[in-house]
């Protein structure tokens, strides 16, 4: 079934149609809880209140989401980093993307490294505090983590595939008893002739620097920020798809790969045991780990 959440397209597929309504209820309950904790575009969410007040007594849900983000930061040695928000805002992405799409902004961004260490969390007391200048956007890891959580919750009932905004988590068998067929695209336009893979369990995520682009002082920029510099990423890789045991890890490494660049990204992903497919600037495809040969639907 097709759904939408957080202004993103989403879909939910179950092997056993008899539990479809239960699965949808689980999907909505979990996404609502995550939204209350970490929706940056809802000023009443805990995350929004934290970014303004600089300190909050956080819910268990928020702490769980912070843990997921912290894991993404740790796994990627800081390359996938929720603390890049100040840099993203400085480059002009401080409003709905439709308002900056195809525009050339006159800005002089004053940016620096992301300060994840400026987030202080007391997990027992549920207290979260931010250092001066630190702003958080947990959206990326939260989306992937939500897919995992929904899939894990539904999995005891039936095989399931959950997709939110292009991040996918699958558990159990597909309706035909085999693997789940997941299409891949480095843009938001998808079609039947694109590449796809079969996934038995885990997650798949794609990051691209070719979407959400705009100009600043004539220079083309994008929404993927290098946490070390505070600048939009460039380089030879334009899009990276990663499969991993969880959607959270796939998401973290697909984002980090764009930051690391061609030379380091695929070897690092392989070293962690995951698989990847990267699209280069010239359109060529390179892969890492046990990625299957390209297969398209009939």
């Amino acid at each position: 079934m097709e759904l939408d959440v957080w202004n993103l397209s989403a879909s939910l597929h179950v092997s056993d149609r008899r539990v479809e309504r239960d699965a949808e209820r689980i999907f909505r309950e979990i996404t609502q809880r995550v939204s209350r904790a970490a929706n940056r575009f809802d000023e009443t969410s805990e995350l929004s209140r934290l970014n303004v007040a600089r300190a909050i007594n956080a819910s268990d849900d928020f702490i769980a989401l912070w843990r997921a983000a912290d894991r993404a930061v740790t796994l990627t040695q800081g390359a996938c980093n929720p603390a890049v928000l100040p840099a993203l805002l400085a480059w002009g992405y401080d409003r709905d993307f439709d308002e900056i799409d195809h525009r050339d902004l006159a800005l002089q961004p004053q940016v620096g490294p992301a300060q994840w260490e400026g987030v202080h969390v007391d997990e027992v007391r549920g207290r979260v505090e931010l250092d001066d200048g630190v702003l958080l956007d947990l959206g990326s890891s939260a989306k992937a983590w939500t897919c995992d959580l929904i899939a894990d919750t539904i999995a005891p009932l039936t095989g399931v595939a959950v997709e939110i905004g292009g991040d996918v988590a699958v558990r159990g068998t597909s309706p035909d008893g085999g693997v789940w067929a997941i299409g891949l695209s480095d843009s938001l336009l998808v079609g039947p002739s694109g590449p796809r893979v079969g996934l038995a369990h885990g997650g798949v995520a794609t990051s691209s620097r070719k979407i959400r682009q705009w100009r600043v002082n004539g220079e083309r920029v994008n929404h993927v920020i290098d946490p070390a510099t505070g600048r939009p990423v460039a380089g030879e890789l334009t899009a990276v798809t990663v499969t991993a045991a969880t959607c959270l890890e796939a998401n973290a490494f697909s984002t980090a790969a764009l930051v690391w660049g061609r030379r380091d990204s695929l070897s690092r992903i392989s070293q962690h045991g995951w698989s990847a497919r990267a699209v280069c600037e010239d359109g060529s495809i390179i892969t890492a780990g046990p990625w299957p040969s390209e297969e398209t639907a009939a």
């Binding site: 702490i63 959580l149 998808v190 297969e295």
Partner: protein, 105 residues
């Protein structure tokens, strides 16, 4: 021949019994208090994460199927199964894309 105890000897015996009993009670109290403390500590720790974390898998191991040990008790071994090709006749269920609103053509 049994020894006859004087009243003062009986009092000393009662004192020893009383002190022993008090010691046992104190030790039992400490143990119970410690137990309650541990339980309370555990309960506090448990409430610090209501949403189960799904991010604890270790890479480079291999299967993901839950393993049923006893009825009602399921332990999950998180494993990574690499992607595969799928038969061309298999329906694509969803798409992995950059974050946004996916449109089909």
């Amino acid at each position: 021949m049994r020894n006859r105890r004087t009243p003062s000897a009986r009092d000393r015996q009662f004192d020893r019994v009383r002190h022993t009993a008090q010691g046992i009670l104190v030790l039992a109290g400490v143990a119970a208090g410690t137990g309650v403390g541990l339980i309370a500590h555990g309960a506090k720790a448990a409430t610090s994460s209501t949403l189960p974390s799904t991010s604890t898998s270790t890479p480079s191991t291999s299967t993901t199927s839950p393993t049923t040990t006893t009825p009602g008790q399921v332990t999950t071994t998180t494993v990574y199964i690499p992607p595969t090709t799928v038969p061309v006749t298999t329906t694509t269920v969803c798409y992995s894309t950059p974050s946004g609103n996916v449109r089909c053509y």
